[in-house]
């Protein structure tokens, strides 16, 4: 397998940067990381690929992302206010596809949330479709495949 360490380093840096923003609630900056048509998707069915025609846990276009962020920060949501911090580990990063227009990468995430004093853990595979620009990557699609996507989840008042 031919590896492109420079590209992998860039992708790794970007994924770490995005994860850091989300753990530290840098939501406004996170919103600026997206292409206009970008989609943030958390599917219920891990085998499904036609996300638009299936029910997902979340399928956010730019409007929904903006509203999701507003809900988390405007102080009106009792559940968002009782989330402390999340700590997520991103690892096993692999570039699956790379061209001048698009880079597809996959990684593992373990997100930990402290909720009413109890630790809740979310393991997931995440797939990124990134668009290279002069200022760095933009996210065109992020699919969060939770390990227990089709089980009974706890409610989520943060962003994966």
């Amino acid at each position: 397998m031919k590896s492109n360490t420079e590209l992998l380093a860039k992708v790794t840096e970007f994924i770490g940067y995005e994860a850091d923003l989300l753990d530290h609630k840098g939501y406004q900056e996170w919103l600026s990381l997206w292409t206009d048509s970008g989609l943030y998707i958390v599917p219920t069915d891990l085998n499904e690929t036609d996300y638009l025609n299936t029910l997902n846990l979340a399928l956010d276009d730019a409007d929904m992302r903006r509203m999701r962020v507003a809900r988390l920060i405007n102080g009106e949501s009792v559940s968002a206010d009782s989330v402390g911090y999340t700590v997520r580990m991103m690892s096993r990063i692999r570039v699956l596809e790379a061209s001048d227009d698009v880079v597809v990468a996959r990684c593992a995430m373990t997100l930990n949330e402290l909720r009413h004093g109890k630790l809740v853990t979310y393991p997931a595979n995440i797939e990124y479709r990134l668009v290279p620009t002069d200022e760095g990557f933009l996210v065109d699609r992020k699919v969060v495949k939770l390990l227990h996507a089709d089980g009974f989840l706890r409610t989520v008042s943060f962003i994966f």
């Binding site: 405007n74 989840l153 706890r154 989520v156």
Partner: protein, 437 residues
């Protein structure tokens, strides 16, 4: 320590813990009462197990529960529905796992007994050892009595309770209205969200008939809507009502204009549905059909609470399952139209994702409030939960039922009276299995 002992010594029976306008907080937290509920409530009434559209073809199955008992809803070769206990007749393994799917047979993984989707035992390895021991035809999976209404399948362990239609009674007219969700197409399940919360099942049961919490708990959801839509959800001062329909069922009408989705079809298209209308027109739908589909896309303006475990909630089914005294699993089942334009079903799913499920803009805040109720109700050795809101301001509905303001607790009182009646009755007899601990 002495306080703890006194706590255990509450001599009231569960049925006595329900008064007209209040219920004792132990109903949320006493494990013995929980066991009694499974026995006297869930084993003794009609329990929702699924919708016919979830098992569309011969060979389709869906796993479900009646109280604590795992069951399977199936459609056999001839197209007939069955509700079967998910327990192999040999040594008891479940014969079916997974949410739903399609299969030719239900094969037990342990020793390979194979059952048809009608529950009959078809084949087993090395059958000669059973010669003279039993006859295969007596070893079908045990089936439950079930009946359907508008495609909703309800099952029961009891052979001697009233027919489903009598149990639903005054709720039937509202189920008929709810079934207009499909916009002229048969109502169909599109998918479901699943989540759990650390609290008692009755907290969820109450919530579906609780409009009082909406503007408080769901403030952040309302803020995310455009002004016109936010106005629709500002219903506490409107003409809505809560009506006790008997047998523990109730309806809470929040948006009276949206009770009948097939009425008032001449309304202009609201801004948030313009994109949908444009897509439908592009598909060649007539203006009449566009208006009908757009209006149905909203969902109905009411929550119909069916005792004990399902609610037809505006645009979806809310199904609860009691797991333990302090844990409840909930499904939010998204609905659309069978054969309806994809654009319509897509819109329905996007609206569902907006509010419902563990990542919706509504559910997490409900969940937070319920978790607080469970936690708070542990405080103090004695205490009551109030359900007396609007109790002295009741009127009689056109159907002759008690009806109160939209933000009254009329529906909760109805549910608790049914609960009281069932909990006061003797233990189960008949075919209902005893609860094992």
């Amino acid at each position: 320590m002495s306080e703890l002992i006194e706590l255990q010594d509450i001599s009231l029976k569960a049925a006595d813990m329900v008064e007209e306008g209040r219920v004792h907080k132990s109903l949320y937290s006493d494990p013995e009462i929980f066991e009694e509920e499974l026995d006297k409530v869930f084993n003794n009434t009609w329990v929702f197990v699924g919708h016919e559209s979830e098992v569309p073809d011969s060979g389709s199955f869906k796993t479900s529960f009646v109280g604590r008992h795992p069951v399977i809803l199936t459609r056999d070769r001839k197209g007939n529905l069955h509700v079967l206990q998910n327990r192999c007749r040999h040594r008891g393994a479940t014969v079916c796992e997974g949410r739903k799917g399609k299969t030719k047979a239900l094969t037990c993984p342990y020793h390979g007994w194979g059952y048809g989707l009608d529950g009959s035992l078809r084949a087993l390895p090395k059958p000669e050892e059973y010669d003279g021991v039993f006859d295969k035809k007596d070893m079908s999976l045990e089936s439950l009595r079930f009946e359907t209404y508008q495609g909703m399948v309800f099952a029961t362990f009891k052979d001697d309770i009233e027919p489903l239609v009598d149990f639903l009674g005054g709720a039937k007219k509202w189920i008929d209205l709810f079934a207009k969700q499909g916009g002229g197409y048969p109502m169909k399940v599109l998918g479901e969200h699943r989540f759990n919360f650390p609290g008692n099942w009755k907290i969820q049961l109450e919530n579906t008939t609780d409009a009082y919490h909406f503007p408080i708990v769901h403030k952040s959801f309302v803020s995310s809507l455009d002004d016109a839509t936010a106005d629709i959800f500002d219903f506490l001062d409107g003409e809505g009502f809560v009506e006790d329909l008997g047998h523990g069922h109730s309806v809470m009408v929040m948006i009276p204009e949206l009770v009948d989705l097939e009425a008032d079809l001449d309304q202009p298209i609201p801004a948030r549905f313009e994109a949908l209308a444009a897509e439908l027109r592009e598909e060649g739908k007539s203006e009449d059909e566009v208006k009908k589909l757009v209006r149905a896309a909203h969902g109905t303006g009411f929550n119909l609470n069916l005792f004990p475990n399902v609610s037809c909630s505006m645009a979806f089914f809310r199904v609860l399952r009691p797991v333990s005294v302090g844990e409840t699993e909930i499904q939010h089942v998204a609905l659309g139209g069978e054969g309806a334009p994809q654009a319509f079903n897509r819109k329905r799913m996007r609206l569902h994702e907006h509010f419902q499920g563990p990542m919706g803009f509504g559910t997490p805040d409900d969940g937070e409030a319920w978790e607080r109720v469970q936690k708070g109700s542990q405080s103090g050795k004695d205490g009551w939960i109030l359900v007396n809101r609007g109790m002295t301001r009741l009127r009689t509905s056109v159907d002759g039922n008690p009806q109160g303001a939209v933000c009254s607790e009329t529906g909760m009182r109805g549910a608790y009276q049914q609960y009281k009646k069932m909990m006061a009755a003797g233990s189960t007899t008949n075919t209902a299995p005893a609860e094992e601990k």
